[in-house]
């Protein structure tokens, strides 16, 4: 496995280093903890703080989404590993303006424990914290156990709407409500074609035949529902959508935001071919696409494959989806 790195043990440090140097008008490191990054810009007084975080290797997730209209700070973990409580706490303290802080993170055992510990510590410092877990991956547990599902690319929409709500002056409870509502109305499912490898091991994250793909793959290379033979893009899109529709029935004239997310090494050309089919299927069903995102939004290092995310939007969510954003890795006018 060839990678553009120096010492494999320093990849996260060096990435952060490069990142803050590349975008000094956007982001800065806290002195208290070098895994704690916060926006370099002045945010409005009394704004609810948005804290995101998780393991590294998902860029633009998560540090790429700190900026105007999205998150105020991020706690950065090792590759595919939740950050410990310390950097989460430091970011919490730095971005709390008295209005409280919302933690947005994916539903992984590690994140649950570390963010939970950080919230306990923040509580001891009298900072109000609301925690919202994303659980959009329909492949990761049956609907009866929705709370066990992991968060994958759908996190992007949760960051998007909650970030917008905070920017528009919603209070702590309201921002948390928006985040939960978005998660509630969001479903994703992915497919893995080729594995990534951790810088420290160089070993492929999962095994897969030359003519196979992994349906429902997690975005750390966790095995999915099953391995199936490789298929045409249209059929893959149909299959992913089938699972999503079974989970969140959509009716004629419902409106959705769509994300076709690349896992890392899948060219945009392929993502747009996937999107093409998604649009066709939604059109056939009379479901309106309110806004679309196609590209690498939450990745797994150089993994090959993609996921499809649908978020059902109402007027409230539409206004938030449309809210402008200015982050180093994501800008929306």
């Amino acid at each position: 496995m060839k990678k553009l790195i120096n010492n494999p043990n320093n990849v996260v440090e060096e990435m952060i280093d490069g990142y803050v140097k590349a975008h000094p008008t956007y982001i800065k490191r806290l002195e208290e903890n070098d895994r704690s990054l916060v926006t370099a810009r002045k945010t409005t007084d009394n704004k609810v703080g948005i804290l995101i975080g998780g393991g590294s290797g998902h860029e633009p997730g998560f540090l790429g989404y700190v900026g105007d209209g999205m998150a105020d700070g991020v706690a950065v973990g090792n590759i595919f590993a939740s950050p410990p409580p310390a950097p989460i706490l430091e970011v919490t303290k730095a971005i709390d303006k008295g209005a409280g802080v919302v933690y947005l993170y994916g539903n992984y055992a590690g994140d649950v424990m570390n963010f939970g510990m950080a919230a306990d510590l923040a509580d001891m410092e009298d900072i109000h914290v609301e925690m919202v877990l994303t659980t959009d991956d329909v492949a990761s547990a049956p609907i009866e156990e929705k709370e066990k599902r992991r968060g994958i690319a759908g996190e992007f929409f949760v960051f998007k709407t909650a970030g917008a709500a905070a920017d528009q002056g919603y209070n702590l409870g309201e921002v948390a409500r928006i985040a939960r509502k978005t998660n509630e109305f969001t479903r994703s499912m992915g497919v893995g074609l080729t594995p990534c490898s951790l810088p420290q091991t160089g070993e492929p994250s999962f095994e897969i035949g030359d003519n196979e793909m992994e349906l429902g793959l997690g975005h750390h290379g966790e095995p999915g529902i099953k391995k199936v033979p490789m298929d045409k893009a249209d059929n893959i899109a149909d299959e992913l959508l089938k699972h999503i529709f079974a989970d969140m029935p959509l009716n004629k004239d419902d409106e959705v935001a769509v994300l076709v997310n690349g896992l890392g090494s899948t060219p945009r050309l392929e993502l747009y071919i996937m999107y093409r089919r998604v649009e066709q299927v939604l059109k056939e069903k009379g479901i309106h696409i309110y806004r679309s995102y196609v590209g690498d939004y939450i990745t797994s290092l150089e993994m090959g494959g993609c996921s499809i995310t649908l978020t059902k939007v109402d007027d409230e969510l539409k206004k938030l989806i449309d809210h402008p954003v200015d982050c180093p890795m994501f800008v929306q006018k």
Partner: protein
């Protein structure tokens, strides 16, 4: 038998070494069940502990302090799932060892029981969920029972570690119910849980320390 702070520190040195040796194996297990980083995570954590052993903890004599610094250092270096789990174990265990520079047999037994309770409280996993707890729960139960019975820490520990080993091995036949691999369903069958494996290495290494100690 008793264990000095120096010997206790030395135990952590040995864990560092064992983890370094088993790193690739732990990653391999995690690639099959999870995201493939368990060996890397354990290594990062213990290397960081090792650094503390050579600096801040070099002349530390309070075993409670040692245990809590080890826990916090491990946690801050790794985060992850195992960070909070093992850290909570060492921090709960630290309460038992507070201000002690020399550990008696019953300190040792109590420490490990507290450690395991800490892990269980933090992670809320049950025996059979295919986690660290599958190793640690039978280990702690056996340790507590046997030590109460015999007051022989060496014998009790050795039986406890055997129980832990059986627990670890039992994870091969379990379907994951928690953590990253819980979505694997039947496909998780046949593979031993990486966390259960690293937990076994941690207790097995302590047993070796006791054995060396006992023949001194």
């Amino acid at each position: 038998m008793s264990l000095s702070a120096r010997e206790y520190l030395n135990y952590f040195k040995q864990v560092t070494e064992v983890i370094e040796n088993e790193k690739d194996y732990l990653c391999e297990l995690d690639r099959k069940l999870g995201d493939g980083d368990h060996g890397v995570t354990m290594s990062i954590g213990w290397q960081s502990v090792n650094e503390k052993l050579d600096t801040e903890l070099l002349d530390e004599t309070d075993c409670g302090k040692i245990s809590s610094v080890v826990g916090m250092t491990f946690l801050n270096a790794v985060g992850s799932s195992v960070g909070p789990l093992y850290a909570t174990g060492f921090i709960k265990g630290a309460k038992v060892l507070k201000n002690k520079t020399e550990l008696t047999d019953s300190d040792i037994a109590e420490f490990w029981v507290a450690f395991v309770n800490g892990v269980k409280e933090r992670g809320k996993a049950q025996v059979g969920d295919k986690t660290i707890v599958d190793t640690l729960d039978p280990f702690a139960k056996k340790l507590e029972a046997k030590f109460a019975e015999s007051q022989d820490i060496l014998a009790a520990f050795s039986e406890a570690v055997q129980a832990g080993e059986r627990g670890m091995e039992s994870t091969k036949d379990l379907i994951s119910k928690i953590g990253r691999s819980s979505r694997l369903g039947e496909r998780s069958l046949g593979v031993q849980d990486p966390g259960a494996t690293s937990a076994y290495l941690i207790i097995e290494t302590f047993q070796k320390v006791l054995e060396v100690e006992s023949v001194k």
